[in-house]
């Protein structure tokens, strides 16, 4: 079911949230720069970017804590300009969780419902439902200071979900959890979102988190969105060098376009003797143009034997470093130019006869389709 969910490809679909040419300035600093973005009902949407890229400001404008300097934001067709945070059908889970320390878990979850003047019996029902959803029924009477980090995170989630908002905002929701717990919680969040059919907007600087959870990711840099796409497209077809380097690991080879031969680009680089052959038909390039070739480490092959004469894209170097990660081995290979490439290899068998060793002369190859050309 999830696979076919892609309302952004449907030209008739009405977005739930619309940022229309939104700008936010703090004094002279431009936090968000003429940004437009559509988010659809039921989406799990990630705002991804380094710190200071404006992603948090964008979220805070949606919650109502900041007002746009220019442009406007609409939610389900309603203009949000001038609507204070306490009148928006949007709830937020804070990075620090912001649980009220003087209230028990139940009271925390009930807080928002009480503000709406919901009858007491109904509040109790809803609180019970939320506690079940996050599996904290037994801790209802506890205070936040008596909970572990993971439990607090769940209370914060339950509190933000209790009012059944149109949109749930999550600010670095898993940032304070350790790695194991983070992974489990990622899947839990996805399940909850799917179950409730709610729209989630997550801010994160962790690309792995974004890749795992999101239907679509917007990569932000300097107050602008540089690419909005599903995780696969962001990873395999990054639009800029910044995205390629920010999302996952990548090897960058700089060079100049020589021309096109039977649909494949030929690029001259200092790293290889023979020009490289790249299959990236969508790029529009001209001869002599400076480009960067991006190849993911897992799409490169490392071998000791010299490849045959028919092989394309051959680089030679010596092993500089080996990192054994269990499932993967990472080789750092130093080329004659001094560049260091990162090549990973899945450890498919438990024992390898004469494995590649430090300082060994090796050949690195990659297929024409494995690389992406990024105009500089």
């Amino acid at each position: 079911m999830r696979r076919t969910f892609a309302p952004w490809t449907d030209p008739d679909a009405k977005p739930l949230i619309r940022f229309e040419n939104v700008t936010k300035r703090f004094g002279d600093a431009m936090a968000v720069d003429h940004l437009s973005l559509d988010i659809f009902q039921g989406e799990f949407f990630c705002l991804l970017g380094p710190s200071g890229c404006g992603k948090t400001t964008l979220m805070r404008m949606l919650a109502g804590f900041e007002m746009p300097t220019e442009g406007r934001i609409t939610l389900a067709g309603q203009d949000l300009s001038g609507v204070p945070p306490y009148r928006r059908p949007v709830n937020m889970m804070f990075q620090s969780y912001a649980l009220f320390p003087h209230m028990s878990v139940e009271k925390n979850i009930a807080f928002g419902l009480k503000q709406d003047g919901m009858p007491k019996a109904e509040i109790a029902d809803r609180v019970g439902e939320m506690l079940r959803l996050v599996q904290l029924e037994k801790l209802a009477k506890r205070y936040p200071s008596q909970l572990s980090g993971g439990q607090r995170q769940r209370v914060a989630l339950a509190r933000a979900l209790a009012k059944k908002p149109k949109v749930l905002l999550l600010d670095e929701p898993l940032g304070a959890l350790d790695k194991k717990l983070r992974e489990e919680t990622q899947f839990e969040l996805m399940d909850i979102q799917h179950e409730l059919g709610m729209t989630f907007v997550v801010v994160t600087h962790d690309q792995e988190e974004a890749m795992t959870m999101a239907d679509r990711i917007a990569v932000m840099d300097h107050g602008r969105i540089v690419q909005v796409a599903d995780p696969g497209e962001i990873y395999e077809q990054p639009k800029t060098r910044f995205i390629a380097e920010f999302v996952g690991d990548v090897n960058i080879l700089e060079g100049h376009v020589m021309g096109q031969e039977s649909g494949l680009w030929r690029v001259k680089t200092a790293s290889a003797e023979v020009p490289l052959t790249i299959d990236d038909p969508d790029e529009v390039l001209h001869s002599g143009q400076a480009v960067a070739i991006a190849v993911r480490p897992e799409k490169m092959t490392i071998q000791r034997e010299k490849p045959g004469p028919e092989a394309v894209n051959v680089l030679t170097g010596e092993v500089w470093d080996i990192g054994y990660l269990g499932d993967w081995t990472v080789y750092r290979v130093r080329l004659a130019t001094g560049e260091i490439l990162r090549v990973t290899r899945a450890n498919v068998s438990r024992f390898v006869e004469s494995p590649i060793d430090w300082d060994e002369q090796v050949y690195i190859t990659f297929a024409p389709g494995a690389a992406v050309i990024l105009a500089e």
């Binding site: 204070p84 620090s96 003087h102 928002g112 503000q115 200071s145």
Partner: protein
Amino acid sequence: MNRRLSLFNVTSLVLGFAFLYLPILLLMIYSFNASRLVTVWGGFSTQWYGALFRNQALMEAAWVTLRIALLSASMATVLGTLAALALTRYGRFTGRTLFTGMIYAPMVMPEVITGLSLLLFFVAIDLDRGFWTVTLAHTTLTMCFVTVVVQSRLMTFDRSLEEAAMDLGAPPLRTFFAVTLPLIAPSIVAGFLLAFTLSLDDLVIASFNTGPGATTLPIKIYSQVRLGLSPEINAASTILIGLVTIGVISATLISKRSVMRSQRNAH
């Protein structure tokens, strides 16, 4: 570093405390003196406490003092808390440094000057000196102490708690009463107790601004001592010291505990 108490440390500690508290201790001991002569020990007795409670003039002064302390501390708490909120919350408004300085000035201003200027002010606006002028003067004196205590709590206050409350549908005023106030309440109570004790034992400012029918206990004690020492005064002073000590210790404990709790919640 040597953290253990050496002979030198112990000696300086004892001497320091003796210098500070020996006179007070002496006064407290003599309040239990059976003899009428203040400087001669005539055995243990609590008779002066009994006499004190039968002394109409002293009891009246005590009652006036208590009322003034309660009222002025309450007003100082409200004003001081508001000032602390303004100073921590409204960013860098024009004249903020000046405002901060002006709030803290009464802490270091010589009391004689505060008292005198207030007296001149009350005369200028033609306010009859008495109960209300002392109360107002004490509010002026103690407000800055409340501000200091409450402000230090607000500095460590996590603003996202208030944002969370608003996000969940609470308008600003309700957010203040449901979230902010309960969390800073310990520091407000501590500020109140501090203001209360300061008002309780103030002599200088009170004597400048007092009038008929508004003789506070410190003024009464001071004027009686000039006529001659009496063990009753020792007893009254002992009670006053006891009250002030309790007030200051509770204020310290309350604010310390709330700081510890807020730190624990941050982790």
